[in-house]
Amino acid sequence: MKKPRIGVFKFTSCDGCQLSILNLEEQLLGILEVFDVAYFREVSDKPLAGHFDIAVIEGSISTDRQVEEIIDVRERSTFMISIGACATCGGVQALKNWASAAEYKRSVYPSPEVIETLATSDPISEHVHVDYELWGCPPDNSAILKTLTSFLLGRRPPVPTYALCMECKQKGIPCILVSQSEPCLGPITKAGCGVLCPSLDRPCYGCFGPKEGANIDSLFTVFKQFGYSQNECMQMIDKMNTYAYRKEKYKAASPT
């Protein structure tokens, strides 16, 4: 069997998701045995050429050039997988979607007129069809491995879509929302991180994005009983997955 050709592409991001792939370390060499890693600029000089069986995308779309590039990558690829908060929902830089980009530029650069940027930071799926999305800031690297091997086997990747609370219960960690009145995003957030924060007695801050059908307003009602203002509640979801949480929030709020 010919090795499937895989390409790893970066858009606006921190490089952390590509690094998650490299952090597979000893398993990385196994990946190289079953896949032809044909494009991965962070670690290889191989120029962009030909068709890809799988394109793995890190980063959000935030310039005109990137809009053209993602369309080109889509046309060259059979399957497209976006990984990480930036690619799946615009990332932390999508906070600019709620502010004036012009004002942002002025505050950082002495000559803002030379900066080229779109007004928004978009998920990949807003520009092209995406076949599979792997959430997390960063995604768990074993989930990346499972996703790639599932492709070889023609299966759906076994990545959880339920709330973090499920994982927390499985691990027998006392609920910090209920027992300590801490503003934990666990009930509205996808599982998958391995319950890193609650294990440290820290409330979940939403690295893995909203689970489908998350009842955000209801959780906010609880937070407000703890004494948090509406603004503070919004700041809790306005982080790496701001765009996705807000979408979920307003979807639930609007009449169907």
Partner: protein, 428 residues
């Protein structure tokens, strides 16, 4: 004679950048290290956020050195609030940093720069290079294992907070790592000899090296800012002397130290740290460096891989020492009350000084901030190095020059994603 060297996308570097050079009438008429990584406006959206968000947000600037961002920001905020951390917390933070130095240096030495010395396009394309790739991945894994014990995960760890950590590790989960760290230390000593024996091109230049210096240890989280040209300042004083300026036709804010009216570009990173703090390295590391005939200070930025390899050994050695000294503190963090103020803090990220400055209000919310990553401080010298190299080799074929320029840039281990406030110019 007219020549044009154009690299659209640099490879084996973090982030997106390119190079454009024009050679005309025996001279260089244009030279730009161009950076087209899209800006992410961290300094803007931090405004109005609570102080814990600084630690979690700035980590997202760089997937390779999130700990550096967490360290510089935690220290700056603690300085404003007047927080003194427990000595064991101080120890854990230093240990945290060794994990990141290991992971980042191993990546650059073995996966990014190393292949250049073997004419390989990546760490896995040539079978003769594979053992080195495996060694690098193995070193990197040990750094990541340490980061996972301390922070839950190596990329964007979740444990750091103002005043300390959300939770501290058990002594035994750290001592479990000692065996691997010690073996890696031994292996890494051999690797210094390998690095020192690589065929170096490039050019020696006289530069101002700048790093932190601490009286008792190789610098990471604390110290004064010093240089080989007499600079010796507090972090706040250095921030005051630092000038960021936009360079004509170039793409980033360049940094320079201002003395009276002159602006001097300077170099940060492993080479600068190594040159300025060589005496603080473990005795074995120093003697191996001397045995290889390497002259310290190093004046060729291409030899950064030697400094990085020495620091990699140091980090393994230091991690073992710190784990042995560690005693679980009674509390993972100290209590504090937010208050208003402004502070600068600098820590030594794997790639050099990472400067953070925050202004907070009475409730500890961000009013203003400035973040200056190491790569943007090094851009001035990066362009000078390329210029000096080209000046001596103008007659060589463009393809050769292009390859060599790319190697020079890579030897800096630039982190373009990091360059938070880097300008983006329209590409031709």
């Amino acid at each position: 004679m007219k020549k044009r060297i154009r690299i659209d996308y640099l490879s084996r570097v973090e982030g997106e950048g390119g190079l454009l050079v024009e050679i005309k009438d025996g001279g260089i008429s244009r030279l730009n290290v161009s950076i087209f990584e899209s800006p992410r406006f961290f300094e803007s959206f931090l405004r109005g956020r609570p102080h814990q968000d600084i630690i979690d947000f700035t980590a997202r600037i760089c997937g390779i050195c999130p700990v550096a961002y967490q360290m510089s920001s935690a220290h700056a905020v603690e300085k404003i609030f007047g927080v003194d951390v427990d000595p064991q917390i101080r120890l854990l933070r230093r240990l945290f940093y060794t994990g990141e130095w290991i992971e980042s240096h191993a990546l650059h030495i073995y996966l990014l720069q190393g292949p250049d010395f073997y004419g390989a396009e990546s760490a896995w394309t040539k079978s003769e290079y594979l053992p080195l790739a495996k060694k690098g991945l193995h070193f990197k894994k040990i750094g990541n294992d340490l980061l996972s014990v301390l922070g839950g995960r190596p990329i964007h760890p979740v444990s750091v907070r103002t005043g300390g950590f959300f939770g501290v590790p058990k002594k035994k989960s750290l001592t479990a790592l000692i065996d691997d760290l010690e073996k890696a230390y031994e292996e890494s000593l051999h690797a210094i000899r390998w690095a020192a024996g690589l065929p170096f091109g490039g050019i020696e230049r006289d530069m101002e090296y700048v790093s932190l210096r601490h009286p008792e240890e190789y610098p990471m989280n604390e110290g004064r800012v010093v240089s080989n040209r007499g600079l010796d300042m507090t972090m706040e004083e250095f921030f005051g002397a630092l000038r960021e300026h936009q360079v004509e036709r170039s793409t980033a804010l360049h940094s320079a130290v201002q003395r009276n009216t002159t602006m001097t570009p300077y170099l940060v990173g492993p080479l600068a740290r190594f040159n300025l703090n060589f005496e603080m390295l473990p005795p074995e590391v120093k003697s191996i460096i001397r045995e290889t005939g390497t002259l310290v200070p190093l004046h060729n930025t291409g030899m950064g891989i030697i400094a990085r390899s020495a620091e990699l050994s140091f980090a393994f050695h230091e991690a073992v020492r710190l784990i042995r000294d560690y005693e679980e503190p009674a509390k993972a963090f100290v209590e504090y009350s937010p208050r208003s103020g402004t502070a600068t803090w600098i820590t030594e990220a794997p790639r050099g000084m990472l400067i953070h400055r925050y202004e907070l209000d009475d409730n500890g919310y961000v009013k203003a901030c400035t973040l200056i990553p190491p790569t943007s401080q090094n851009l001035g010298h990066m362009e000078k190095d390329i210029h000096a190299f080209l000046q001596k080799n103008l007659e060589k074929p463009a393809d050769y020059l292009k390859r060599e320029c790319e190697k020079i840039i890579r030897s800096y281990d630039p982190c373009i994603s990091c360059s938070v406030h880097v300008l983006v110019l329209k590409r031709n």
